[in-house]
Amino acid sequence: MSITEQRPIISKLEKQELYRLLAEGKRVDGRGLLQYRNLNVQLNYIEKAEGSALVELGNTKILAAVKVGVALPFADTPNEGILIVNAELVPLASPVFEPGPPSEESISLARYVDRSIRESKAVDLSSLCIIPGRSVYSLYVDLYILDYDGNLIDASVIASVNALGTTKLPKYSVEGQSIKKLDEYFKLELKDLPVSITYAFFGDKYVVDPCLNEEYASDFTISMTVKSDDRFCAIQKNGGGMISPRGFLELLDKSIALGKELRSIAYSKLSGNG
């Protein structure tokens, strides 16, 4: 059962102040309405994983790591590797996260990131086949939220793509139907660098990259993942409220522009990572 969430109360004064500022085109932390927070990316944070990245977007802090294995392919895609995205909202990160089985929020986050990577074809799954129908690489992308200050979606996409971009896979030699792990590695090549752009809506105003207080005060959010070629590969409205068709279409151009900008910052370290 999905149940109306009980958002932590942010004081009425805080909310009024937030709206007052928005009416003037300003935000509580001094940012412009369409300005992202500082973004910091640290590659290969977990040396023992095959790929990893620690991403800080303002105070939001997310660790993504990739574990590589060998698995039986799915019956309907015998020539394709397996990609699984999982997100853990560990209780260390926020008083609103609780230990236990994945919440709908963590499932929805993981599924959105999965769609962003899968549909953008950032990872060419057909290049991850070892023996068709028998042995393929499996990539487990685990997202670990360490500190929660809003906009998990955009930060998670950036963390996942960076972690995949640093991933090294062991080579296998094939003898008949059996495989043998070699002591050589090859780099996973990314075919696209998708970024997600998230907007939070307040009446007729909206901002990009909401911090937690903005998320709590907002009516709903919309996230859009843009590929390197400016096409879209995932969209998701989260929360109640409604948007007019015109309001929605207006976001498309904005996302393309913001996407270009964010992409150049978010993945700047990947080129240097060998």
Partner: protein, 242 residues
């Protein structure tokens, strides 16, 4: 979206003989269950979906209740026999996500402040799935709410749009969903001119999204009319028989 199969016939019509902007046959009936406060049944293509509403009723345990409005609980669930391979009855990650996006789409529709400290339960059971179940389920759930006498800000209808073989199309069936290039489920309330459910999956350019959205609005307006008709039928004075 893996193999390459053609989703259009030589005459430009879809494999089930529809035009790109044509809905599948839709059959809606309101008030089909005896225990639920409100219920509705929808067939859209081969989709067969039931929705039921219980409430408003006391929210238990109390700590889930809200002092100023009622809360909604929503469960989208697929019957084990609704899919080609038998599905476990335990909720999948997909069902958990869809329960949430459907609830989100219903929240702005219900006049929740009329019923503080209560809960409304919304159950959607997909008996047979044929693509677009979240949209058809939502269309039915809205009617189940109306049937339960819960004050709504108008009716919301939902329909997926998307892209197959490079063409923008409306109301994707199972095949088009699986082998097409993009799927964009949309719920639209024509009274309020508001989109309440919006997802996209696959690849579309800005122009294609604009075109698809326009198709979605026309389609949901058509479905909205069928919703109104179904409610009229439900509440019409029954004629004396015989």
């Amino acid at each position: 979206m893996s193999e390459k199969i053609s989703l259009f016939k030589e005459d430009g019509r879809r494999l089930d003989d529809r035009a790109p902007d044509e809905l599948r046959p839709i059959k809606i009936k309101v008030g089909v269950l005896s225990n639920a406060q409100g219920s509705a049944y929808i067939e859209q293509g081969k989709n067969k979906i039931l929705a039921a509403v219980y409430g408003p009723k006391e929210a238990l345990p109390k700590h889930i209740s809200l002092p100023d409005r009622c809360i909604l609980r929503c469960r989208y669930h697929m019957a084990p026999f609704s899919t080609p391979e038998r599905k476990s009855p335990a909720p999948s990650r997909r069902e958990i996500e869809l329960s949430m996006v459907i609830r989100n789409a219903l929240e702005p529709l219900v006049m929740t402040s009329l019923f503080p400290r209560t809960v409304i339960d919304i159950f959607i059971e997909v008996l047979q799935a044929d693509g677009g179940t979240r949209c058809a389920g939502l269309t039915a759930a809205v009617l189940a709410l109306a049937d339960a006498g819960i004050p709504l800000k108008g009716l919301t209808a939902a329909c997926a749009v998307g892209k197959a073989d490079g063409k923008v199309i409306v109301d994707l069936n199972d095949l088009e969903d699986k082998y097409g290039e993009a799927d964009m489920p949309i719920a639209y309330n024509p009274t309020l001119d508001g989109i309440t459910l919006l997802q996209m999956d696959g690849i579309m350019s800005k122009e294609e999204i604009e075109q698809a959205l326009s198709l979605a609005i026309t389609a949901t307006q058509k479905i909205h009319k069928m919703q109104v008709e179904a409610l009229k039928e439900r509440f019409s004075v029954p004629r004396r028989e015989g």
